[in-house]
């Protein structure tokens, strides 16, 4: 069973957030200078589309 994250307010949702086992290393793109610090762009080696 993958580790779930406990989130405040989760009781109004049936969704659950589980640890992603397919991302071996979280790789940030190199555009930190053009995105705000609040936005993190990362991609998994498993061919996810761009997540942000």
């Amino acid at each position: 069973m993958k580790k779930k994250i406990q989130l405040k307010g989760i009781e109004v949702s049936l969704q659950e957030w589980k640890e992603c086992g397919n991302v071996k290393a979280v790789k940030y793109s190199s555009n930190s200078n053009i995105k705000s610090d609040k936005t993190k762009i990362f991609r998994s080696p498993k061919y996810y589309s761009l997540l942000y």
Partner: protein
């Protein structure tokens, strides 16, 4: 010249660019980490110039566009800016981006990829799929816990986001809200009022199919999973096997019709094969098709490079 808009480390775009180099076709790849740092438009003279990382181009240089994902990003101002102004400046940038998109279309460029439509509404797509005669799993949107009494709870159900997955980072670890099976015993501990939640009957699968459609062509692979996990994205590669798959003509026709009605030039579609039935799950306009090309041995990247 060809303009490719993509994110930096998109493996499919890498492969397309390799083919373009081999075919000696000149192209510019605009990644999200490359910025448009200068714009000069003169409507009187019909001059529309812009610079990418200080390299000057005219919009009219580009005769063929391939949009993979990401967006055109401008060199932003330095220093602190009021949030209201920041919002305004971004709308100004967007107006320029929208014009660039318009110009390419008006100038008769060949445009591939979903440059003009980058997302779809999952519910709209399911509704459309059903109306086109594709089978979809029994689907409900529920926002009140008691409404579960209206559905046959002897079946198994799954839930997934109505919109996109929401990645959450905690302690440098990534958490995702994968598709998951509903534990009907556990949901009674939830709040009576839920946010609207997508619930679908769990389909027993023989295998899952991912297809990529592009310009009325469809390539598909079957994915066999040797794991109990519902979300194939959550299964490690070693527990999966892939095989090229030829879809029935009827299914292909319906997928192409759906793409046309959704105004999508390309995208990936996930299906479940359950005995004799094909169940439509969802379409992703920016979905990854590397696996389809690689495991199906379809060489889709060459096909796209030839078209551009």
């Amino acid at each position: 010249m060809i303009l490719i808009i993509s994110s930096e480390n998109d493996t499919m775009t890498d492969a397309i660019c390799s083919w373009l180099s081999f075919l000696k076709k000149s192209f510019v790849r605009l990644n999200e980490n490359q910025i448009v740092n200068k714009v000069y438009f003169d409507f009187e003279q019909g001059v529309f110039n812009f610079s990418i990382n200080n390299n000057d181009y005219q919009l009219s240089d580009f005769k063929s566009i391939f949009y993979r994902n990401g967006s055109i990003i401008f060199d932003k101002y330095k220093g602190e800016v009021d949030a209201n102004l920041d919002f305004f400046y971004n709308t100004e940038f967007k107006a320029v981006t929208d014009f660039i998109s318009y110009y390419f279309k008006a100038n008769g460029c060949k445009i591939y990829g979903n440059f003009y439509k980058r997302e779809v509404n999952k519910l709209e797509v399911l509704f459309l799929a059903k109306s086109l005669g594709l089978k979809i799993p029994d689907t409900y949107v529920i926002s009140y816990l008691e409404d579960f009494a209206k559905i046959n709870i002897s079946n198994k159900y799954i839930t997934k986001s109505l919109s996109e997955m929401q990645p959450i980072f905690v302690d440098n670890q990534l958490y995702l809200n994968y598709t998951c099976e509903l534990d009907l015993e556990q949901i009674k501990f939830k709040n009576q009022n839920l946010i609207p939640t997508l619930v679908q009957k769990k389909i027993d699968r023989n295998f899952e199919i991912r297809l990529f459609f592009f310009n009325k062509n469809i390539w598909a692979i079957a994915t066999f999973e040797f794991s109990d996990d519902i979300d194939v994205r959550n299964i490690i590669e070693n527990n999966k096997k892939y095989h090229p798959y030829e879809l029935p003509h009827e299914i292909k026709t319906k997928i192409n019709k759906m793409a046309k009605l959704l105004n999508l030039n390309c995208g990936t579609v996930d299906l479940i094969k359950s005995d004799e039935n094909f169940y439509f799950l969802e379409v992703n306009p920016l979905g990854q098709f590397h696996q389809v090309s690689y495991y199906g041995n379809y060489n889709i990247e060459k096909y796209i490079a030839d078209l551009l």
